[in-house]
Symmetry: C2
Subunit: 123 residues, 2 copies
Amino acid sequence: MAQAKAIEAPPVEGGNNATDRCPMIDFVNLVSGKWAIPILYRLIVTGCPIRFGELQRAVAPITQKELTRQLRLFEHRGLVYRKVYAEMPPRVEYEITPMGRTLRGTLDSLADWMRVNASHLIT
Amino acid sequence: MAQAKAIEAPPVEGGNNATDRCPMIDFVNLVSGKWAIPILYRLIVTGCPIRFGELQRAVAPITQKELTRQLRLFEHRGLVYRKVYAEMPPRVEYEITPMGRTLRGTLDSLADWMRVNASHLIT
DNA sequence: CGGCATCCCCGCAGATACTG
DNA sequence: CAGTATCTGCGGGGATGCCG
């Protein structure tokens, strides 16, 4: 099931893109960076549209630049919706997409593991 | 470093150590870097001692330097055993620890998600 | 308020060569 | 074969300032 015989990667026909290896590499490429997972997880547990500023406070101390960058990446990859309201002052809301939501179980598991083992790990 | 201020850390009951924030941040700190998760996962699915060279081939195309660095980090954190044989030529074997092994379910889930969704994701 | 633009630092990570 | 040393770059990501 979750086996990965990476070494002798069977030659995939056609111009398969870079996702021919271990799925872990794909995952790291997808959520690389210090803030990607925390942002995603926040959007998932929130579950409803959330404003930029509120999100930033929730994932503090991230900078606006980085939060914007990551959100744009997620939007481009179909993990996050972005909704702009033509108001004054401006309002922008972000929300996890159904596909993004399917990460919930995995990320919960991850968070649980971390909560259990954080105290045993040397920093 | 990423210390800054604990903006609005909700008071957690009991003795509260350095891991007072979102466990996701701890996780990213633990396995930051391009190769950490692939290496760890490889050691987990292998399940038995594996030589340095073989591990490197399995997680190709990682460099020796990076593989050494990550393995040392994992060893220091109690996720990986390191066993040196006084032979000629030298032989060093690495193995996942029981604590590291407990990550299996989480990482399997992660890999499964990636396999399912890789094709839907814009690179 | 959201989000570009700019400047800049530092550490991940690659390439290469050398040692026991 | 495993590991170290050195050089190098690239980009993540922080700080600040301006604009609609």
